[in-house]
């Protein structure tokens, strides 16, 4: 089976995109946990804000992954 160079490169690109998303979501999760530990009564509001910001971040990294998919599954 022949594998082109661009397939490997795009796989590396997908890895980098996931790395960025992982770092970002980790940061969001850690700070949300700290905030909940400080103010347990506001945990509902913090959770909603956390999910929304994680989703916004995830969207940015998914742009990269969709591009990779378009390249690989062409």
């Amino acid at each position: 089976m022949e594998i082109h160079l661009y397939v490997g490169l795009s796989a590396i690109g997908a890895g980098i995109a996931v790395l960025g998303a992982g770092l970002g979501i980790g940061k969001i999760g850690s700070s949300a946990l700290e905030a909940i530990a400080r103010q347990p009564e506001a945990s509902n509001k913090i959770q909603t804000a956390m999910i929304i910001s994680a989703a916004l971040l995830e969207g940015a990294s998914l742009f990269g992954i969709v591009t990779v998919l378009l390249a690989v599954l062409k």
């Binding site: 089976m1 999910i51 969207g59 998914l62």
Partner: protein
Amino acid sequence: MLYKKKISFLFIFFFGFSNLTCLHSQKLNFNKKITFNPAFFIKSHINDSHEWHLKKNVYISLPIILFDKGFKLFMSSKFDHGNNLVNINNNYYRLINNKIYKTNKFGFLKRDNNGNIINNMPLDFSITKNVLTLIISIFILCLIFIKLSLSYKKKNSKTGLLLEYIFFYIKNEIAIPNLGIKKYKLYFPFFLTLFFFILINNLIGIFPIGPNITGNISVTLSLSMIIFFIIIFSAKKKYWKHIFWMPKVPLIIKLLLIPIEIFGIFIRPLTLCIRLFANITAGHIILISFISLIFIFKNIYSIIISIPFSIFILLLEIMVAFLQAFIFTSLSALFLGIAIKD
């Protein structure tokens, strides 16, 4: 000592495992007929198609509606999975990779230098797998909610216990905080419909033979276009003022902000569309990849890895189905809430 023994056992196990797979792959090279192509397999599961593949040789054929100087209607079984040329009043059609091309009598395909087909394509209004499933999901939603509304006539009915919980969750967590307590009543039915529509389509996609509707970019794009037009038509004066002439900032930054803000109007619905599409598609691809590990290795021991992992991913996908429905609804409520703020 025991520790060392365990490690050596593991080492032998994995080494033997990898050896077995090597042997098998060497065997495969001699017999090129049974090569398994995971990319093709994944593609055929994710994409829309003109027939519904249920089992090995069991297909449901669906109606095809073409517009080519008048409507033409026939069943997709006439194509015989792309092997046949279909003749309708001396117009010849051919099905290649789920796309219908118009050809001459002999089924000739013109190709450009890159190998892409450049034959004419008739306008395709077919009821494909996704369209049929959309209709089915609408029926399911109607069934659930008509039953729910009828149950309020009786006393002590328990039909609404779960649905009412979700209803009040959307009302208290999404609609009121984002849209404001005065205005939420106008938009609340829309967001409720949006949430349940996305949820039921996500859940249908997880079923073994279910097509992934929300993993189709045209479906998510049309959903986000609805939100785009709602934002455009219900936006207040203040919103447009903030886009075209941001108050309380210096003139240079005002000019700098105009293109960014205009770009932002279009990028917000686009991110909604891409997020839902990519999340659902990525989940399906991971799930199918784990299952196709069995067929790549051609080894019974590979189920030790692939089955537990695919069950884990499946459970994760059920969570993602709920989460993405929630995120789509709450983000569209957030964007609308910014636009209608006084």
